[in-house]
């Protein structure tokens, strides 16, 4: 009964993650391409500047600055689906399931860091083109950035915990 319930929840998680990955592909990966190369006025409208000031060089820089965040995020989702699939198959404590959990955590931390760096670089690049006064702070970060970074670290820790638990279970099994 419990096994069935775990399978059900992991199946719901797999479906949820898959839908979210497709949304992420559309919103982040395609969106990144769209706002830089198709909707050419988008960035200029966001900052309220003349679109002519956003040169191709700036456009390319912005695209490649945000690219690592999008790719690492996608890798994180892939690991998350893989991990959930392992739980669904009842192979949680196998050695091959331990590294995806650590990988999810590392990908989350890295994506958050890259996103924060890209956001601040974008500000440094675009803000001088506006008429507004210089930025009050040299570095900007949001509460969400810190929260998701902590979650990443939490997953890394959970991965280590899983390694320890698997060892204990293996030792017991061998003993029995």
């Amino acid at each position: 009964m419990r096994q069935k319930r775990i399978e059900l929840i992991s199946l719901i998680l797999i479906i949820g993650l898959s839908i979210w990955t497709i949304y992420y592909l559309y919103e982040v990966v395609w969106g990144l391409f769209e706002v830089r190369f198709i909707k050419l006025d988008h960035t200029a409208n966001v900052y309220g500047i003349d679109p002519a000031l956003i040169t191709t060089k700036i456009r390319n820089s912005l695209f490649f600055m945000w690219m690592p965040t999008a790719i690492i995020g996608l890798i994180g989702f892939a690991f998350a689906i893989f991990g959930a699939l392992r739980v669904y198959q009842g192979r949680m404590f196998e050695p091959s399931t331990q590294w995806p959990v650590i990988a999810i955590g590392l990908a989350t931390c890295l994506a958050t860091l890259c996103g924060n760096i890209a956001y601040n670089l974008e500000l440094d690049l675009i803000w001088p083109l506006t008429d507004r006064p210089p930025l009050a702070r040299s570095w900007y970060w949001g509460m969400e950035t810190v929260t998701i970074f902590f979650f990443g670290l939490g997953f890394v820790l959970l991965g280590f915990l899983q390694i320890e638990s698997a060892k204990i279970l293996q030792e017991n099994k061998e003993f029995v």
Partner: protein, 204 residues
């Protein structure tokens, strides 16, 4: 024979090193999480207080300026956000418990598994609450709107319509809710693993 002894010693050293790393990471995270909890509570309660008990609501431009924001509306808005703060705080509490268990070296214990599970569960609830209540607060705020403009001492006050329930979401909330489901699931599986281990032990 000496080779075997060396192997065992190396394995023990590796295990000790991993344990040390887990404990150190857990301790750093524990301290950081406590600081962040206080910061989060300060930010969240300030927001809830400003929305409910100050005139910030009028600056939303969805409430008619000539309407008085009644006490029940203020109480309803405050209670709504207090629920999210309470659920978020419960998630923080179980997160801290989990880190404390790890810091104490309780890796595969009933308390650790339960902390992981409840941490995930309350996180999901808090994020669902945040998403649902974010669309409900417009309903409550515009409850008394008449839709008629009025000339007041301060000039013309525009009439604004009542806003019904509508779905809005923050991608960050959905990501955190999915993380929560992940933690919940892992906690559950750990609990099952722990149960199996107990059964094995009682069998021996």
């Amino acid at each position: 024979m000496p080779q075997k002894t060396n192997d065992t010693a190396t394995k023990q050293n590796q295990k000790r090193s991993l344990e040390h790393r887990i404990r150190l990471t857990a301790m750093i995270l524990f301290i950081a999480a406590i600081c962040f909890w206080f910061y989060w509570i300060y930010q969240a309660t300030t927001y809830a207080f400003e929305i409910s008990w100050t005139d910030r609501l009028l600056r939303w431009r969805i409430v008619e300026n000539h309407m008085e924001i009644t006490l029940p509306i203020r109480i309803a808005l405050f209670s709504l956000w207090l629920i999210v703060i309470a659920l978020g705080s419960a998630a923080f509490y179980f997160g801290l418990r989990l880190l404390y268990c790890m810091r104490s070296g309780e890796y595969f214990q009933e308390s650790t598994c339960r902390a992981i599970k409840y941490f995930g569960m309350f996180l999901v609830l808090a994020m669902v609450g945040d998403t649902v209540f974010a669309s409900l607060d417009h309903v409550i705020a515009t409850w008394n709107n008449t839709g008629e403009s009025l000339v007041t001492d301060k000039g013309l006050s525009m009439g604004r319509p009542f806003i019904g329930p509508r779905f809005e979401y923050d991608p960050g909330d959905i990501s955190l809710a999915l993380c929560g489901v992940g933690f919940w699931l892992i906690g559950w599986v750990f609990q099952e693993g722990f149960r199996l281990q107990k059964e094995n032990e009682s069998f021996v």
